[in-house]
Amino acid sequence: MSAELRCNGVALQTIVRREVRRFTRIWPQTLLPPAITMSLYFIIFGNLIGRQIGDLHGFSYMQFIVPGLIMMAVITNAYSNVVSSFFSSKFQRNIEELLVSPVSPHTIVIGYAIGGVLRGLAVALIVSLLSLFFTHLQVAHLGVTVLVILLTAAIFALGGLINAVFARSFDDVSIIPTFVLTPLTYLGGVFYSISQLPPFWQQVSQINPILHMVNAFRYGILGVSDLNIGLAIAFMLLTLVILYLWCIHLLSSGRGMRS
């Protein structure tokens, strides 16, 4: 192994360790809120309202919404972990510690992305364990489940990094999650099947990338989907590659970090 590669390997471990240390140190801000929010969703939507809705695709409403809620938690947490960590590094200027070091932009991007993915997975585990108090959960296609959750977390972690690079204030950090991610997630089939929508709105809904992710994940857990799974995974892979290259370009050019 070349010295350069070994150096970047240690640097990658360092970034990941630092990111994990950060989100576990502030667990009341990072791990606890999704547990409380999702428990409320399970109680209110799954238990109280869900009883009156009946079955969807042969599953109880509670079982139907569990995969969507897990994905919702993964998307929000993977994104917000990276956007807040990277932006606060920019804000406090400790991002300069990384920029003056010989760490390559690839290592920085991968390190932050792994940090975001790990927080997404930690929250997914918490939400999944909580869901067991309300319903029986089994995994129909383990490979698809793992692949989709990893791809989704990585995509939104990279999205968070891009947001953080462009952000100039803490307001800029919250604009995308509030005005883009939340509406797209709620309209992404977390609480309903698009087969329940009129044909026109079914077509419109398919523009929403989160709908494809939620459906692919639901297919992994329940074995049912409204959409083509292969297409969804291909779309996610393509998105991941594009966002990764964009991140590398931003880090290499030092946009917003180098003058």
């Binding site: 390997g9 240690v10 471990q13 406090q92 300069e96 510690e97 070091s101 760490v103 003058s259």
Partner: protein
Amino acid sequence: MTAALTLRQLCKTYHNGFQALKGIDLDVAEGDFFALLGPNGAGKSTTIGILSTLVNKTSGTVQVFGHDLDRAPGALKRCLGVVPQEFNFNQFEKVFDIVVTQAGYYGIPARVAGERAEQYLTQLGLWDKRHAVSRELSGGMKRRLMIARALMHQPRLLILDEPTAGVDIELRRSMWSFLSELNQQGMSIILTTHYLEEAEQLCRNIAIIDQGRIVERSSMRELLLKLDMDTLLLDLGQTLGEAPLLQGYACQLLDSHTLEVQVPRQRGVTGLFAQLAERHIEVLSLRNKSNRLEELFVSLVQKNLVEDKA
């Protein structure tokens, strides 16, 4: 011997059109303790920013121990430790974590990083504070933390941008002795400071930068020799009603016990004291009115300003 730092025709023009550096040429020898001085806005921080890759140069070349910034930035960065002017560590991290994390960015394994952290934090008097969150440290401790952090990868060239700003005199002197020790061990050091006494005490060579240009580059000794007049303040053992007439020395009475005397370098102070003794004027102590380097610095910068306007 390879030069620690070589700058050739280094230029920087910011997006707003401000030309911060106008073609700087500079060589710093390996093992040197070098002062880079200049008034605010002269281009010192821009130069350091370019070396640390936080500022993109417009043109010119930069080499650190022969590693070119454009061709081998990784190798250059491994040779370089930078202590910036402003605190730039995570305010919520613990002292130990900050230095060990920085070592990790340079590929130093955790075990080695832990040993070095103990070594440098102890040397800089921070080991007892290793579990403290950095924002709880005093200003002086924060400065020392930044020095410890910059040393973790054991750079061959250490650049310190005003490392003792806001630090009390006792701590400043202990930092001087620590930096001198590092230099004696072979580390090349470049220092920018507003305390000219600091540069005079520590540095062997000096460059003065003003309005993006190097206006003086020489050894500290040669530079101080250029100063042809010293202004001394004499504390007198008796009360004087008026300034005495001293042949070859202009003087004035600041108060009844303090005499200010202009001492031409070629005359020295022997003649002055002989004349004072003849007049039975007792001198209790003497001191420079201002730092010698400071006088020279002011005259060079003013001269540059006049030439620029012309």
